[in-house]
């Protein structure tokens, strides 16, 4: 029997129940089903190689002779700690990271401040400035290798034409200059990342703050340290953290430019790790990889603890103060 519409009981919205009660097993199953492809892919392509790499660090895993791949405990790590070359690469890694990071940060910041202003063809300039970020590190390494070549390189040619040097500098042939050369190339390569990130953060700082600072008579330096930097503090901190990890983990530029030479003077931990991998000693290379991950995790923890805000202060009060 048909029921008249008017006689239908009015459906009330269900009473609000707790989220936990609504989340039934069936819902969980649906959610899991939707997440499963992602879980499978991440497990297959991230965690499986990671775990495989970790277990290799404790095995005698040499691709040149796989007849004995038994567990060797900490032998690979002990070998590394007694390896003079490895110790040298640790020192080089610190120079490489600090030497690259500081100029990248300062120049990137300056570029972001400059690109924030409105001027003609700003879009074109931005595109040109950010271009290096789109090029492969290995390719940049090869380009800079030719640019820094002692005999045919454009760097020496320009320096000689500008009368800054009398004789060609063997940039990549002398241990003193080689690290400088690879750091220069890396600064050129990585500066744009800082510029992109800082520019994005700067564009989110309200203009009213700058206007208020101007009315209060704050100069450029005061505004920079009182408003700009505090406003983008989180972005700066995270960008520095990311860059430290990336620079530490990026051997391709060194590989392309010097191959770790001359006489291992530019080998960092990760470029040495690739060399050992090429030699087929996956056990020792994996041990290096585990050490790198461990050190970077420790660094990230200490760094984030060191930069966490202790007392919340408003930027306005700082400027007014």
């Amino acid at each position: 029997m048909a029921v008249l519409q008017t006689e239908r009981p009015v459906r009330r919205p269900p009473a609000r129940t707790s989220h936990r009660r609504q989340f039934t097993g069936r819902t969980a199953l649906v959610l899991l089903a939707f997440m499963l492809p992602a879980i499978v892919f991440v497990a297959l392509f991230t965690y499986y190689p990671l775990l495989n790499g970790i277990q290799m660090a404790f095995r005698n895993y040499n691709l040149n002779d796989l007849s004995d791949t038994s567990w060797v405990g900490l032998k690979n790590f002990r070998t590394l700690l007694h390896d003079d070359m490895f110790r040298g690469t640790v020192k080089n890694s610190v120079v490489w990271v600090v030497g690259s990071l500081v100029p990248q940060f300062l120049i990137g910041f300056a570029m972001a401040l400059w690109l924030r202003r409105k001027f003609r063809f700003r879009g074109t300039y931005q595109a040109l400035v950010f271009f290096p970020w789109a090029v492969s590190g290995f390719l940049i390494g090869i380009l800079f290798r030719w640019m820094f070549n002692g005999e045919f390189g454009v760097v020496n040619d320009l320096l000689m034409k500008a009368h800054l040097i009398d004789t060609p500098v063997p940039w990549l042939a002398d241990a003193k200059y080689a690290m400088v050369a690879v750091i220069v190339a890396n600064v050129w390569y990585g500066v744009t990342f800082f510029a992109i990130m800082i520019l994005a953060a700067l564009q989110s700082v309200p203009d009213e703050l700058y206007e208020a600072a101007a009315i209060d008579g704050a100069g450029k330096v005061r505004t920079l340290f009182g408003i700009t930097i505090p406003s983008i503090r989180t972005t700066l901190a995270l960008t520095v953290l990311l860059r430290v990890i990336w620079i530490f983990n990026s051997p391709e530029l060194i590989f392309g430019m010097t191959g770790g030479g001359p006489a291992n003077a530019t080998h960092t931990v990760t470029s040495y790790m690739i060399q050992v991998t090429q030699e087929g000693d996956y056990g020792r290379a994996s041990a290096m990889g585990v050490m790198v991950v461990f050190v970077l995790i420790l660094f990230a923890i200490f760094y984030l603890l060191a930069i966490r805000p202790r007392t919340p202060r408003t930027t306005a009060r700082k400027v007014a103060g």
Partner: protein, 433 residues
Amino acid sequence: MRYRQMFASIAAAAVVAAVAACGPGPADKANGEVKLQMVESLTNPTRTALLKKLIADFEAKNSGIKVQLISPPTNQADQKIQQMLQSGKGVDVLEVRDTTVGPFSTNKWIYDMAPELKGWDGLSALTENALKVTQQGGKSYMVPYGFYGLSLFYRKDLVQQAGFSGPPKSWAELVEQAKKINDPAKNRYGYSFRGGLGAGGNAVAIISGYVIDELNHDNAFKLTDGKTIFSSPKAVDALNLYLDLFKNASPKSSVSWGYPEMVQGFTSGTTGFLLQDPEVIATVKESKTIKEDQWGTAPLPVGPTGKAAQPLANAGWGVAQGSEHKAEAVKLVKFLTSGDAAMTFSKENSLVPILKSAADDPYFKDGPWASYVAMNSSPDTYIVVTQPRGVPWSTEWGNKSDADVQKLITGKAQPAEILKGWDDYWTQKWAGK
């Protein structure tokens, strides 16, 4: 129930997608057609195009077999091949080099083709050296496609201007002439020194020339008394002369010069001498700076006793143990290493040929190739030796010796010190330590 079905189907789709993402399997049969996967190692665009042309010829003559060529970038190729072989999938025919044949066969990744090659008429067409490589230790893990042998590229005009009647014959003469030609003020240097990638190999070349009379020809890193060549006092003399060549006749920046830079040094007219493989002939011919009549090649410089060790580096084609179509794969290897295909590959790739018939070919008799013919026709002066390039630690040795040569020429270590390190290294490796 509906949810379970949905869950199951999504899970199945995810697994299928993940498995599909793992790439193609090895050779497969599609429509009764055999598909072979072939992977090269010493990749360059010109060579890849040449290989594709030869493969097309093979396919035309062997209907029912299709070949897919994989060409990884050179610097990662051997590692990629190792990974493919380790997985047992994705490769049927592969490029095997004298430096990789050892590890590949130790791990049972490559197939011994000896039974299939028995009675093959292509064997009798091979030169003695090529046959030796094909039948090492009674096994046939590879058939070579050519040899890489060092000879001296020199600038005829600069040698003449320096007051010499012809190119140097010995290492001592080479140093003397290179010093005369060397004039940094004019950005002109005597010698294209190899200080970067591959530096160790050239240092070993001069050492071998100095210890040639006591050299074990079958293991050219050993003397006849069983010690390493690096333990000989003559090796110290060789490295001292080599250091002199760097200090007084080479560009400072050649500390970091690898293959491209040293060749560029010669083709740009910056250096007077270059020690290189015949494949450079084609590159020098293309130079716009030095004309054809300004350069030539001379045999490898000899040591103090008038002899040189010629370690013929080689590479060739082999078949993966995991291949499901070994018969077709061997067929392709035979095709590439015999007849017109082998000759074309040698000529267009500038390689010392593997076929006896090349000796009568005018192409290999004239101009830059003449020095190779001269070396081949004087086997008592230019002694063909076998270096232990197939040992499992070959890459490790390459990296170590390159870095040590850089230490030597940058003044961080003395010749005796370097040689002591090399002697210890090989002694320990051979002792299995």
